[in-house]
């Protein structure tokens, strides 16, 4: 009986080959912040660990031709948070990523690892859902791109096969007329996981009409989730008169939280509605979007 074998492949292809060989025995880590905690608590006990840290070129943050962002899976949360182009193109993404834990964690944890960990209490998935992010996946059968919304399956579970890797995160351009915000409810400590979190995006016409809307929530279900009914209620409304009561009702009905140390399910359900309302009111009161 020994400690797990620690592999450091030099490329994505090498990592995929290794994982194909290891099958269910292999466990992928990038920054290893979450995985180490799970291992220490005995929740995972892999016989082999595939550490992606030696792969070059997977941590870039670049503009895409359409003005969106492509973020390499190995970019650290701190790199995303402080990237000038993220701050310019998607400032709320930089903000929300900067709310994760502490700067020590953010210096080590990666955006790809954060998503692949599939923890419904994390901050980045929530804002990325509101921004319609997509993820690139590479595996033995080639590469594919899918909406982030389709990526999460359950607590700590994604659609990734045992030999598949998340390689990059693509954020479409955020229209200049969009109002985007993120709220993280932290009644305990500044470095805690959210009791509930909510991200919203309102794509607003010059006359105030809401052309499209996104409402995403964290810590309220087995996966980071979008509140589709709330989005439908907002779509076609006016920022001067958002149907907030109805949205709160829709959000409250859509979430499915559990009792834990951060609160009872009933409290989280109520807080999900409250923070959605607070966020929408704040966005509605933001300076008018330039025509």
């Amino acid at each position: 009986v020994t400690a797990p074998a620690w592999h450091r492949p030099a490329s994505v292809d090498e990592a995929i080959a290794l994982l194909s060989e290891l099958g269910e025995d292999g466990s992928v880590v990038a920054g290893a912040t979450a995985h180490t905690l799970l291992r220490k608590q005995g929740l995972v006990s892999p016989s082999a660990i595939v550490d992606l840290g030696a792969i070059d070129g997977l941590d870039g943050i670049v503009l895409t031709p359409d003005g969106g962002l492509a973020i390499g899976a190995l970019a650290t949360l701190r790199a995303v948070e402080t990237s000038p182009i993220v701050r310019e193109r998607a400032p709320m993404l930089a903000h929300a990523v900067g709310r994760v834990a502490t700067v020590r964690i953010r210096n080590q944890a990666t955006l790809g690892g954060n998503l692949a960990h599939a923890d419904p209490a994390q901050d980045p998935p929530v804002i990325l859902l509101a921004l319609d992010a997509q993820v690139d996946v590479a595996g033995p059968d080639g590469r594919r791109r899918l909406p982030l919304e389709d990526f999460f399956v359950d607590v700590f579970e994604t659609v990734l096969g045992p030999a598949e890797l998340l390689t990059s995160i693509v954020v479409p351009p955020v229209p200049a007329t969009s109002l985007v915000g993120y709220e993280k409810f932290l009644p305990r400590t500044a470095d805690d996981y959210a009791t509930v979190s909510v991200a919203a995006r309102l794509d607003v016409e010059p006359d105030g009409a809401v052309r499209d809307a996104r409402v995403a929530l964290g810590s309220v279900a087995s996966v980071p989730m979008r509140a589709a009914e709330a989005e439908a209620l907002l779509r076609g409304s006016s920022r001067r008169d958002l149907p907030i009561d109805a949205v709160v009702e829709a959000v409250t009905a859509a979430v499915d939280p559990v009792d834990d140390v951060r609160g009872s399910a009933a409290y989280k359900r109520e807080m999900a509605g409250l923070w959605t309302a607070r966020l929408l009111r704040r966005l509605a009161a933001a300076p008018p979007v330039a025509a």
Binding site: V1, T102, P187, T189, A190, D192, E270
Partner: protein, 765 residues
């Protein structure tokens, strides 16, 4: 330089005001300090343990045959191998490994020693246990029911250290403290009161949350002496416990405490040491165990959860007339983590320690349940009792329509008054600290909706006892303190160094510390009980005075023609007019050139005060301003003040750290720290779930120090470590009530509890 009891002179005060450079600072920041988990021996094996998954069960069978087949496994022990051997600090009621019954989730069933931690863990996973579940006793009320299952049916066989255990009113009671003062018929007093408030308060199981986990390395040498490197702040205590439990002489156990990385009450009790000792016997090899944090949280030593029923009455003048408190402290499955003779918590009767109440009945019971053993966590008992008492005072003031601070000032002890539990004070500083805290927080200022202020006060004794200490003056001018006393991080060694240096009037950097195992130093009580600065400073200052006298007597030998009146001052020999005559180094090297080092030794003793006798107390008032979010119930502390009466400060940096750290510790307990338990099992098994405050969560904090210089320690020192945390919880709860109208009678004052109150549901259900 002062003698005990006298105020220090200006020169001494100036020397004490210098920010200290800690004696252990360089070793700690460079990594040179080795903690127990850093120590290894050739041939060392690693120990892991099998813990009970059930809160209460009979053991039907344990099969270790598959575990023994794991490569690298050298020994597997079960309760059968150590049948009858139990451990504990005072009452030895906890089995090293259970042989007939398990009494909490985490009780040990087996121990494995293997070449690697992984092999030991693999073996643990292969041990087959059959348990027959028994009905668990999961709360104190259930435990005290007449027909409750009895967790320890025959405690008469348990060893009790130093004396005889007092009888208990129910077999599920571990220990009891009872205070009765004034009229015997308390009901009659309540019946004639102008106003009575009655309520039930709760505080949760809480953890010390030290950084360093418990660790130990045990080996047995060729003379059959068992050596322990152990994270235990009372090494002589552990030695004695081992001796009593095994029936072997104390000299057969050698305890080396090493560096200790944080304590907060939890490092006086050792668990792994016991099974490791038997594994070392079984294998003949050194055994090391390092606790996982999940084990720390679920298996060792927690703050007793408390259920507290109080009623308090005032007369028509608004003066406290009667107070009754029944404090039920959840002691968990074993009493062995508690050191005091009564097996209760000394602070458990401190509901109203700083207030005059003529008629009182306070009972503090520690109770057996099928939960993690309750032990000492910073300011044990006071944290629970004070929350109830100080919350109730506010409720009483509000019922009378009176300002809570004015109500306290009317009822707080003044010089010569006794506290509610009969405490007698050398210096009663209650009024001063309450007034100072009120001024600093600007108590009377009107505050906007959603904001409010709250206050609470603690009066806590300065510990006492016996403190032996030795030192050697070497020819090179070094002064070597020799002690087995550990420093758990509070700065004990630096107290010894500075007290010796200041009393001798030598440069502090000359004083070095030689920490030795138990065989190399006289018995000491270890660190704890708010006694260490008091006693240690006195012992070290006495050595400093001895050193000065030793040197001054011998000056004629070292300084030819020296005149009368020459003295050691500021690290040099000076004449009667203060003129420099010789350097300390020259004189010492001449005096000790041919001799052995000069040996100095002392035993400082200050007996704890008996009932009704005046004792030394620190007073502290904590006032906070909070803001309550009306939508969520979330509480933010926007301003905080501590007014403290702490005597002379020996080490200003560490002292400030104790006061501030105590506040933050209290803030965690006030707002967020709570160990969750399901079916008797702790479910908050990591510090990611059981959060504690970080520096980002600390509000503006000001400390007002009442200028007093009459503490019992050297130079007038008192204590600081267990003072400021206890009043924070009730101050916050009282401020929340002022800000929102919601009275939360249960710690922590979480957002959800306040929200429940705001929305009209009961806040404390």
């Amino acid at each position: 330089v002062s003698a005990p009891g006298a105020a220090p002179d200006a020169g001494t005060l100036e020397a004490l005001r210098r920010p200290e450079e800690r004696i252990d600072g360089a070793a700690k920041v460079t990594g040179a300090a080795h903690y127990a988990a850093d120590v290894a021996r050739p041939g060392m094996l690693h120990a892991r343990f099998l813990a009970s998954p059930l809160a209460h069960a009979e053991i039907r069978s344990i099969d270790v045959s598959r575990a023994l087949e794991v490569p690298g496994v050298q020994a597997v022990l079960t309760g059968e191998d150590v049948r009858g051997i139990r451990f504990g600090r005072r009452l030895q009621d906890r089995p090293v490994l259970c042989w007939d019954r398990v009494r909490f989730v985490g009780d040990r069933l087996a121990a494995v020693a293997a070449e690697t931690v992984e092999a030991a863990e693999a073996a643990i996973a292969l041990i087959d246990v059959e348990l027959d579940e028994l009905p668990p006793v999961l709360d104190v009320d259930a435990a005290l029911a007449p027909d409750a299952p009895i967790l320890h049916p025959d405690p008469s066989g348990y060893a009790y250290l130093d004396g005889e255990r007092k009888p208990v009113p129910h077999l599920n009671v571990q220990g009891r403290l009872l205070v009765e003062r004034g009229e015997p018929d308390l009901d009659a007093v309540f019946a004639r009161a102008a106003r009575v408030v009655e309520a039930t308060y709760r505080t949760p199981m809480q953890h010390s949350a030290y950084l360093e986990p418990h660790a130990t390395l045990v080996w047995i040498d060729e003379d059959d002496v068992a050596h322990f490197v152990s994270t235990n702040k009372t090494p002589f205590g552990l030695r004695k416990q081992l001796s009593v439990a095994t029936g072997l002489p104390a000299e057969r156990f050698e305890i080396d405490a090493g560096y200790i990385g944080g304590d907060f009450g939890g490092k006086g009790y050792s668990v792994d040491e016991w099974a490791c000792y038997f594994l070392a016997r079984a294998t003949g090899r050194p055994i090391r165990a390092v606790m996982r944090y999940a084990e720390e949280l679920g298996q060792v030593n927690v703050r007793h959860a408390a259920l507290m029923r109080l009623r308090t009455a005032v007369d028509s003048d608004g003066r406290l007339l009667a107070h009754e408190a029944r404090i039920l402290l959840d002691g968990g499955a074993y009493a062995g983590a508690k050191p005091l003779p009564h097996l209760s918590l000394a602070g458990g009767t401190a509901t109203l320690a700083g207030y005059r109440v003529p008629n009182v009945r306070i009972e503090a019971l520690t109770v057996y349940t099928n939960r993690v053993p309750g032990g000492h966590v910073r300011t044990p008992g006071e944290v629970q009792a004070l929350f109830a008492g100080e919350s109730q005072l506010d409720e009483l003031a509000l019922a009378l329509g009176e300002d809570p601070l004015a109500f306290r000032l009317r009822n707080a002890v003044r010089e010569g008054d006794a506290g509610a539990a009969g405490e007698q004070f050398h210096e009663a500083r209650a009024i001063e600290v309450l007034e100072a805290a009120g001024r600093a927080i600007d108590w009377q200022r009107p505050r906007p909706a959603g904001r409010g202020v709250g206050i609470a006060m603690s009066g806590r004794h300065v510990g006492a006892g016996k403190f032996p200490l030795r030192a050697r003056l070497h020819a090179d001018g070094r002064v070597e303190i020799v002690t087995a006393l550990p420093d758990q991080g509070a700065g004990t060694w630096q107290v010894l160094r500075r007290s010796l240096a200041v009393a001798a009037s030598i440069d502090e950097s000359r004083v070095v510390l030689n920490r030795v195992p138990t065989s190399g130093a006289p018995f000491d009580q270890g660190v704890g009980g708010s006694r260490t600065t008091h006693l240690g400073s006195q012992a070290a200052a006495d050595l400093g005075r001895q050193l000065r006298e030793w040197l001054e007597e011998r000056l004629p030998r070292a300084v030819p023609g020296v005149a009368e009146g020459a003295a050691l001052r500021d690290d040099a020999i000076v004449g009667a007019a203060g003129e420099p005559l010789a350097s300390f180094d020259d004189v010492v090297s001449r005096l000790l050139a041919v001799d052995e080092p000069a040996e100095l030794s002392t035993v400082y003793e200050h007996a704890p005060h008996g009932p009704g006798e005046p004792g030394d107390y620190d007073f502290c008032a904590c006032a906070v301003e909070v803001e309550v979010d009306p939508g969520t119930g979330a509480v933010r502390v926007t301003d905080a003040v501590l007014a403290v009466d702490v005597g002379t400060v020996v080490n200003p940096v560490a002292h400030r750290g104790q006061l501030e750290g105590g506040f933050v510790f209290g803030l965690g307990g006030a707002l967020l720290e709570e160990m969750h338990v399901e079916d008797g099992a702790v479910t908050t098994l990591s510090l990611a779930d059981l959060k504690i405050p970080s520096v980002a969560d600390v509000p503006r904090l000001r400390i007002v120090q009442i200028p007093t210089l009459e503490g019992p320690g050297a130079f007038g020192a008192k204590m600081a470590g267990e003072l400021t945390n206890a009043p924070v919880g009730p101050a916050v709860a009282n401020a929340v009530a002022a800000a929102s109208g919601v009275r939360v009678r249960e710690l922590p004052v979480t957002a959800e509890r306040v929200h429940r109150g705001l929305t009209g549901r009961s806040a404390d259900s």
